[in-house]
Amino acid sequence: MAKITVVTSGKGGVGKTTSAAAIGAGLAMRGKKTVVIDFDVGLRNLDVIMGCERRVVFDFINVIQGEARLKQALIADRRLDNLSILAASQTRDKDALTTEGVEKVLDELSQEFDHIVCDSPAGIERGAHLAMYFADEAIVVTNPEVSSVRDSDRVIGLLSSKTRRAEKGEEPVKAHLLLTRYDEARVTRGEMMKIEDVEEILSIPLLGIIPESPAVLKASNVGTPVIFDEKTPAAKAYSDAVGRLLGEQLEMRVQPGERRGLFQRILGRTA
């Protein structure tokens, strides 16, 4: 049986797909057979972040509607043997996702994989609901910013009420906080909420702190999950988060953001 983990947030643009790609790849790097599924029907993006957009033939909806077999729709990652991607449909709408259809695909994937990572769309509508519905664990991606924290709070509420585990009265979905776009310099200046502030407000355990990093845009530009760029602070932070997800006890450290050198700062140039 695979462990199903949803990467969710409510708010858009906080780093769900970046995180789903990085964590999926990180799990595969640690030897876990992993599939990452894009639930954002109509606005798929996981394929470009993972760099397999030119190899999408069949998608999640094709499989649900019986137009393709799961094996045909799964795209094997070219960098890691045990990593696969299931793309969302770009042309259908969200109504094409059905509870029964999603359940059937997840059950079939469960036979073959150790981890299923569901990349949720923004919002709390059908796609987001179904992405979290069958989850065992949830990664709530949050920026230290009021609208993101508010939406995360709403999503945490939904995880404890609108999921299969909640409806069946089983052990609740285990929710983890992943703080992204964290900027220590701005926290020091009092411009950004502290880690403890967000933790205290949302009161779920912290999985990791991903610093604001130029490496994320660079990774997206070339279609390589940022975790592959191992020397960067963002990659180290994601790698730690994956370790914690697998139960490793790792000290929570804030990776320094890419600092500008004194010379660059005097010249007022950004890196």
Binding site: R150, G157, G190, R265
Partner: protein, 97 residues
């Protein structure tokens, strides 16, 4: 930034992060309690309208309901614009805590 600006610059505590935390704490405390039940404001508005309509002829647009959620207490403010009566345009306002 000029070179002198860089050397002169002292870290100025901004403090807006504290405002963010405080606003969120108040907001979420209300949103979490309100999540279960239905949205009561439209119900209150409709029932108040019913009472007033029994005695006065007013339009829906003449009622204005506002809520201000605070840390210690919240205020519910209801403004009802009464129809013109003999030239003067009286305005009744009531507020409840």
């Amino acid at each position: 930034m000029s070179m002198f600006g860089f050397f002169r610059r002292k870290p100025q505590p901004d403090g807006s992060a504290d405002a963010a935390k405080e606003r969120l704490s108040i907001l979420l405390a209300h949103e979490r309690t309100g999540r279960q039940g239905p949205d009561v404001l439209p119900i209150i508005q409709r029932e108040i309208m019913e009472v007033i309509l029994r005695h006065l002829k007013i339009g829906k647009d003449n009622v204005d309901i506002r809520i201000d959620r605070g840390d210690d207490f919240s205020t519910l403010e209801i403004n009802i614009e009464l129809p013109e009566a003999g030239g003067a345009k009286p305005k009744a306002a009531s507020s409840a805590r």
